[in-house]
Amino acid sequence: MKEGRIIKVSGPLVVADKMEGAKMYDVVRVGIPRLIGEIIELRADHASIQVYEETTGIGPGEPVFLTDEPLCVELGPGLIGSIYDGIQRPLDILREKTGDYIVRGVEADALNRKKKWEFKSKAKKNEKIGQGDILGEVQETSVVTHRVLLPPGIEGVVEEISDGKFSVDDVIAKVRLKNGGRENITMVQRWPVRKDRPCKEKISPVVPLVTGQRVIDTFFPVTKGGVACIPGPFGSGKTVVLHEIAKWADADIIVYVGCGERGNEMTDVLIEFPKLCDPRTGKSLMERSILIANTSNMPVAAREASVYTGITLAEYYRDMGYDVALMADSTSRWAEALREISGRLEEMPGEEGYPAYLGMRVAQFYERAGRVVTLGKLQNPSNDGKTGSLSVVGAVSPPGGDLSDAVVQATLRVVKVFWSLEDKLAYKRHFPAINWLSSYSLYLDNIKDFLKTEIGEDFLELRNMAMKILQEEDKLLEIARLVGIESLSIENRLTLEIARSLREDFLHQNAFDPIDVHSSLLKQYKMLKLIINFYHDSLEKLKAGGALDEILTSPIRDKLRKSKFLSENEI
């Protein structure tokens, strides 16, 4: 193995010389403890390396070993249910090895090497097979069937394939290549995290990702394969919203990346997910989730890598034809890691000290989401057999909640859904604290047909009507503030009351109530219809000379108030 020599150490940045032959973004092992690092700058034979572990105790003169390979993740059965750090080291195994604290220089396999998986072949001997085609299946967890695919770049004829119990390193098939060579296929493959996995083509998303959160699904929906961002000041509930989506979204696989956030929050996920039941499968949520935890006190450079690690794992399942949803909490911490490394490289800063390439990196990351036609010929009964999707929801934590922040702006340029969290709503304990006036979703058109055929012909009309009432409320409140509420007409006062009902009975959702915690689309539709119908009825009664107070005390209002605590059939 080739090696260089350290000439400078400054926090997570190490400079080494004698690095001829090193390539950009190659992984190197730094110093005597062989810390993991990545080359981020080359000048003649000097390489600047960002190190993914604490560099205390490393000094000039120590060796740097070249691996001649970019930062990769291991892909194969056993990912689901795992908790990894930013560079895919399993935290549970690390704890077994080194105790309660994270110690550096420890290596651990991302996938369990000893575990035997029951492999059922799908491809036949002598069958012609191409990249992304299915070789066989492994029941990874009780809800996830892991499809073992031929890795990208390989094409040929199946020469040998067998059923049985295999570990991930065992050869399950042999493929004769076009050029006459032979490739041994195992269930594990490596993929560089900074490179997106290939697909046949990207197509536009048309099915909503149902999150169970009314303000999202009804008012600002995201699609399967869509991208959304959720900026907000601290205490506005970003993490709670992401947790709720991770719990209740109707995706097949969830990848949750805790990037530079609180340790206890990851613990919360770890303790809660196995206990919670997926309403669709009845099985524990952990059976479909992968967690990546690089908390705020863990090394900064690994934080930078964690979002890429996460999205590569997500793409891998997308390629199997699954609907995958990735939550990144928070992309601001990722951007700050970029800034810190950039500062140590003494690069010329752009806005707020962030590197000039921030916008490009943000865009590259979000563009890896989407609905795709997968490479191979897949038989997935749950859709038309060829598509998979990857939805990305990113939290952004702007300083002081200021939306002019560079990371927020760079994100808004690429995402299609903007959920604007407001601390004022959070102070009133109105959760999810998503402001209904400033948020938007550009997917309403995409999912129009789906809503019409699957849920209700008039869903969108109801939604638009409700939106109009809420906007009207804002104007009316402004007037009331100036001239007093008595000066409003009786119809206007009705509008205010209906808007209040929309806010309190529909938009407000209690994440700690067992029933209210998630609403099916049908329930949302029914609830909305109830409120809007009440509005129309009341309006007619008013016109016929009814008294407002009488209308407002009608028993139907009580029903509205209680509807959130009822299941969809009871409404």
């Binding site: 000439i7 400078k8 150490v9 400054s10 926090g11 560099t55 205390t56 105790g57 490393i58 000094g59 000039p60 003169g61 908790i83 935290l91 549970d92 690390l94 704890r95 105790g99 309660d100 604290y101 994270i102 110690v103 000041p233 601290f234 205490g235 805790g258 530079g260 609180r262 340790g263 206890n264 990851m266 613990t267 919360d268 303790i271 935890a293 908390t295 705020s296 006190n297 900064v300 700050e336 800034r339 810190e340 500062g343 800063p349 707020e352 000290g353 934590s397 300083p399 002081g400 909640g401 959070a426 009133k428 304990r429 109105h430 503030r481 007093g484 509420i485 008595e486 009975d505 700690f512």
Partner: protein, 464 residues
């Protein structure tokens, strides 16, 4: 024998540059001996082939370029810990200042600590009763939480912190995680740049209540070198970890004032001519603060815990200033003090609306406090928020123009502040007392207004 270097090439602020060095490691501890034989300590901040940049933890006054001797000690900064530290007072660098000899150390621990593996963490869910309604009722703390007090100059954050330290306990009748063994409590107090009077207030508080017997104090005063403050909170937390996870104690860490700490960090960053982030604070302030705040928590299989209450004064009461802002993004909520309540003579002047405890949900409810706690606090929040809105409206339009219901809300918000939030500095309110008080205040409303509470609790607790 350690090598001694006489090759200091520059001294600027807290930074010393040493040339012609060999075998120096990043993060290593360095000792610099002045001509008079005084020894200062520092840490290697950057090292290249033959130059090391050392950041002093003490003042550079009296150091010279030609005669100062530098030794690199081949280890990080360590703190000697022992059970005898309880009841003792140290300066910001860990030297005793209470006229007793230095305790004999049981072991030495690196003060920077290591990150706790998220997989090894245990979720904090044991309710701590502080006896303060604004906290217990509205923003309850649990063991292992980090909950800062955001204050401003001239607000009684020290009195509040002392009251919390004095009154905190776990509810009797609940089974603690340790299985009910004799629980041991302790307080570790880290003071950065506070005045002599503030420090003596805390010391006398601890002495009077006898709490000093189970407290360790690290005190860096306002006139001590600012640069020492970078080490002080780390010493405090290392001590806390030792007592919590090796001696199975429940440790409450109070760090005051984090603003002074961040300013010391800014000083070092400026001396290094680093590209500044917001308001001149270094871009890594978030990471740096996180390496301290994240040292709170619980570990699976260990009985002890570390609960952190950092105190910081917000410059100009501005919550969006980088120090409170970044702190709020790391900690599990915040308690914000309000100047307006303080002016109206309300103690503790806790502004409950923007205050938040993120971990409360698993710390309250049946078996912990009472079944109705979550609903009740949501309802109180909603009513108080509407009452405050009504109040603002009344200021513009006059109270007469409010609707009848808004007037009820307005009255509620006043009595909420005067009866619920306000209490005496030495008053210990039981949490059940706090909850009953909340229901009593809510009885001003018709039941139909209480939409955040489940029907059954209204039946059970709302008294007319």
């Amino acid at each position: 024998m350690l090598k001694e270097y006489l090759t200091v090439s520059s001294i600027a602020g807290p930074l010393v540059l040493v040339k012609n060095i060999e075998e120096v490691k990043y993060g290593e501890l360095a000792e610099i001996e002045s001509i008079t034989g005084e020894i200062r300590r520092g840490r290697v901040l950057e090292v290249s082939s033959d130059v090391a940049l050392v950041q002093l933890f003490e003042e550079s006054r009296g150091l010279d370029i030609f005669k100062s001797k530098v030794r690199f000690l081949g280890k990080g900064i360590e703190l000697g810990v022992s059970p005898d530290m309880l009841g003792r007072i140290f300066d910001g660098l860990g030297k005793p200042i209470d006229a007793s000899p230095r305790p004999i150390s049981e072991k030495y621990i690196d003060v920077n600590g290591s990150p706790i593996n998220p997989f090894a963490r245990d979720y904090p869910d044991e309710f701590i009763q502080t006896g303060i309604s604004a906290i217990d009722g509205m923003n309850p703390i649990v063991r292992g939480q980090k909950l800062p007090i955001f204050s401003g100059t001239g607000l009684p954050h020290n009195r509040l912190a002392a009251q919390i330290a004095r009154q905190s306990r776990v509810l009797p009748g609940t089974t603690p995680k340790g299985g009910g063994v004799q629980e041991k409590f302790g307080v570790v107090f880290g003071a950065m740049g506070i005045t002599f009077e503030e420090a003596s207030f805390f010391i006398s508080q601890f002495r009077e209540t006898g709490a000093i017997e189970r407290a360790v104090l690290f005190i860096n005063l306002a006139d001590d070198p600012a640069i020492e403050r970078i080490a002080t909170p780390r010493l405090a937390l290392t001590t806390a970890e030792y007592f919590a996870f090796e001696k199975n104690m429940h440790i409450l860490v109070i760090l005051t004032d984090m603003t002074n700490y961040a300013e010391a960090l800014r000083e070092v960053s400026a001396a290094r001519k680093e590209i500044p982030g917001r308001r001149g604070y270094p871009g890594y302030l978030y990471t740096d603060l996180a390496t301290m705040y994240e040292r709170a928590g619980r570990i699976k299989g260990k009985t002890g815990s570390i609960t952190q209450i950092p105190v910081l004064t917000m410059p100009e009461d501005d919550k969006t200033h980088p120090i409170p802002d970044l702190t709020g993004y790391i900690t599990e909520g915040q308690i914000i003090l309000s100047r307006e309540l303080q002016r109206r003579g309300i103690y503790p002047p806790i502004d409950v609306m923007p205050s938040l405890s993120r971990l409360k949900d698993k710390g309250i409810g049946p078996d912990k406090t009472r079944e109705d706690h979550a609903d009740l606090l949501n309802q109180l929040f909603a009513c108080y928020a509407r009452g405050r809105e009504a109040k603002e409206l009344a200021v513009i339009l006059g109270e007469e123009s409010l609707s009848e219901m808004d007037k009820v809300y307005l009255k509620f918000s006043d009595s909420f502040e005067e009866k619920f939030i306000q209490q005496a500095e030495f008053e210990k309110r039981d949490v059940l007392e706090t909850l009953d008080l909340g229901w009593k205040l809510l009885s001003a409303f018709p039941a139909s207004e209480l939409s955040r509470v489940h029907e059954e609790y209204i039946q059970k607790y709302l008294k007319k």
